[in-house]
Amino acid sequence: MADLLANIDFLQEGPFSVPRWEALFANIGQLWQGALVTVLVASLGLALALALGTVLGVMSSSQWRIPRGFARGYVEFFQNTPLLIQVFMLYNAIPMLVPGLFIPVIAIGILGVGMYHGAYMAEVVRAGIQSIGHGQLEAALSQGFSYVGAMRYIIIPQAMRIVLPPLTNQAVSLIKNTSVLAIIAGGDLMYAGDSFAGRYGHYGPTYIVVGLLYFLMCFPLARLTRRLESRTRAN
């Protein structure tokens, strides 16, 4: 076994050699720390995105002009500017405009991915609501439901089944997009990986492990998406 390994060139020297793997696993704590931040930012960001997506989705399918206009403006703004710039602005521009106001990087991460993916989720929710026949809303209103009540008890529960698969898909993107935090020294998994790889030059094993950790976070959600999709189709 040892002989076999000794004959594999890329394990002996170069970016993927054994000593580099050993160095990485001796310091793996740094990556765990980063992964923890990523999980925290992703889960709170997801909660924010879902809340924003639902509210804005309902607003953009509403019959009133002002909430509809507001939701449209929000969605267009966040869908058509890069997340990277939004995050960079929150990090550097806000303290320049309002001296002394430093939003913590973790909060920037949560706000950044939450607001960005909230816009995408709003579109998913809007499409879901509009796919429920208008008759449902009219029937609910005729039974004395208020508009909000009709949405809350009649329309959204039905739309939920349709929008769930694309929403989990958004959640996967959201997790991966938390990696923009690396650019503002956010302490997330990508930053921890960059920092370690840059300091010691062991970038080969580092980025493989970092990629694997992201995969482990996203893959179960991607599988869930597939399951939900097939269930929706069955219905």
Binding site: P15, D194, R199, G201
Partner: protein, 278 residues
């Protein structure tokens, strides 16, 4: 009708530019190298291979004044390290036009050497023991020290004032360790934030996210504004060397011979003077 005309035009432009690009890629060195620059001895195999390829691929900094700076207006690189690359090419019997520059950062220069995209990196690359295990380095061609850039309004006058402050450093640079060592010696506590590029650190300094920007003084000098100042403290003198892939000994020796020659005939002194580095 109008739309399809536009599409046709667009695809025409694409095709033409593709051809133009292909033309660039396969361009043979048409003019023979100046025989005056041809070394009398035969080139070592590792150097000959580069000469035969017709181009010398050099990783340089694009954002360090006097060392390697890309002029956005002319799209040309200029600096002391750029001139070293030209001298190396000419010594091989290539021309200046055969030098292909690639902008690198502290983080990208190692991988770009390892995967064979660059022949040599001349990019304010500090020679360190750990790095010598991974890459070949030439003899040093410049010595610099790590410095600190702070905002004048911060009132920071020296390293001692940095207690409890945040220092912005570049990922993959040696400045983090250098500042940490000095801070330990002075008995003060500093924390670090790492960024991928110098402009990002500078932006973080401007916005107050970091209290000091630390990197080699020569690099810092390019970021001084009327609002910021480089502290007099300087520590851990750093030797810059050209880096080559591990095992590229022919090229390393060839580069060292050139450096030795430049030292003895006064070319190096002239070069440093030209870029205000002496």
């Amino acid at each position: 009708m109008k739309k399809s005309g536009l599409l046709l035009l667009l695809s025409l432009v694409l095709v033409v530019s593709a051809f133009a690009l292909a033309g660039c890629g396969s361009k043979e060195p048409t003019e023979p190298a100046d025989p005056g620059n041809e070394p009398a001895a035969e080139l070592p195999a590792g150097v000959q291979a580069i000469k035969d390829s017709g181009q010398l691929r050099v990783g340089v900094k694009a954002d360090v004044p006097n060392f390697g700076l890309l002029d956005a207006a002319t799209n040309k690189y200029a600096g002391m390290e750029i001139d070293l690359a030209y001298a190396l090419a000419e010594r091989m019997g290539l021309t200046k036009d055969d030098v292909k520059f690639e902008a690198v950062t502290a983080k990208t220069r190692g991988p770009l050497l390892d995967n064979g995209q660059l022949d040599v990196v001349i990019a304010t690359f500090t020679i360190k023991p750990e790095r010598l295990e991974q890459w070949n380095f030439s003899e040093p061609y410049y010595q610099d020290e790590v410095g600190l850039l702070v905002k004048k309004s911060s009132g920071i006058k020296g390293l001692a004032d940095l207690d409890g402050k945040v220092v912005g450093v570049a990922q993959g640079a040696t400045s983090r360790d250098a500042v940490q060592v000095e801070a330990d010696k002075a008995g003060i506590k500093v924390s670090f934030l790492e960024f991928a590029t110098y402009p990002e650190i500078n932006a973080a300094l401007e916005s107050g996210r970091v209290d000091a920007f630390s990197v080699d003084k020569s690099i810092l000098s390019g970021y001084v504004t009327e609002n910021s100042v480089i502290l007099p403290d300087g520590f851990s003198p750093q030797d810059y060397g050209a880096a080559m892939k591990k095992g590229a000994d022919d090229l390393t020796d060839f580069f060292n011979e050139m450096l030795a020659e430049m030292e003895s005939n006064g070319d190096m002194a002239a070069l440093l003077k030209k870029w205000n580095l002496s």
